[in-house]
Symmetry: C2
Subunit: 203 residues, 2 copies
């Protein structure tokens, strides 16, 4: 099955392994720091991933200071607190519900989109939720492209994180991602994936 | 900037180009068919992308028959109808709001997750929306990994597609994706991306 899959793909096997096949969600990390240069390189790659109306609603907060880490960890689910305290870098991924302000610049084909499609906050929130999640996935792939391991988490008090880090009320947290080089026993054994026939149907 | 980015990434430059830098959202395609073998290879790659509790809520409907295409196209926004009619393959990406039924199998670390965390439909819907969107992004990356172009769209009548293709009420469409080899004038010029400093902040 693996060989057949490789044959039908253009992406080389090493890249397949780096991004998907051997990459794993890490729960522990070495002490090696993650540099701003690495994060910049990740962003410079994944910014090209597509979003509706090129809206790019993802915003990233890098939690680097001890104070920032403390402010975040208190709102994580208990089982996520120790690893979020210890990770070399933690990124809060959020959607900007006011992304439409940038549309006249980032979607020059139809600069009116800001007012025609996104005048309502509720419309912006649902569109930013979908497109922000697409970009969160591109970010996870980008972390792996940098040779790092990601530990994405959704176990936290979202309302509390929004209030703590986005007091103006215009952002909604999507995920919190620990980032670094994987440590010892960084992951569980790989859990089963659904079979093709459980996922794909044809009409 | 591009060179600096490449230096800080482990992923090779050809793969960066294939998946992000040169890949584009296609609006027209050649007549070359997209085979089931290619879709299987895409799935066999992207199924490894991470989801919360390994929930894997993404379901894919390949629209191959003329009847199926007609059922879909009527519910697309006017500007998306012609290209959705003409694409070699169209995939409906949906979230399965009953994904929790599989959790005892796919998340063996904590088989009780099905009842402890996901007893409520509303909780499942919001979790599947986020994680289904992550998988939709993995799918777009996978299409590109197969050397194909993706044309993801969200301009459609979601309620009508849900009723048409998922009459049991347990799925919600996330996106519709045209797939094939890019045709002539397949895309607009690349639109601007937000700068690093517009997206990333540090605390």
């Amino acid at each position: 099955m693996t060989i057949a899959a490789n044959d039908a793909l253009v992406l080389d096997a090493a890249a397949q392994d780096l991004l998907f096949r051997e990459a794993r969600t890490a729960n522990s990390f070495t002490d090696e720091p993650v540099t701003d240069e690495q994060v910049q390189a990740i962003y410079d790659l994944i910014k090209y991933g597509p979003t509706a109306f090129n809206q790019q609603p993802l915003r990233i907060v890098l939690v680097r200071t001890p104070e920032g880490r403390e402010r975040l960890v208190q709102h994580m689910a208990e089982g996520n607190q120790a690893k979020t305290s210890a990770a070399p870098l933690v990124a809060i991924l959020a959607q900007d519900n006011e992304f439409h302000e940038e549309l006249p610049t980032v979607f020059p084909h139809f600069p009116q989109a800001k007012d025609v499609f996104f005048a309502e906050r509720s419309t912006r929130e649902s569109s930013a939720a979908l497109n922000g999640a697409l970009q969160a996935a591109y970010f996870i792939i980008g972390v792996r492209a940098a040779g790092l391991a990601a530990g994405p988490m959704t176990g936290f008090d979202a309302a509390a994180i929004n209030k703590e880090f986005f007091p103006e009320g215009d952002h909604s947290v999507l995920a919190v991602v620990n980032i670094g080089m994987p440590g010892e026993d960084a992951w569980f054994p790989r859990s089963p994936r659904l079979e093709y026939d459980q996922v794909v149907t044809t009409v």
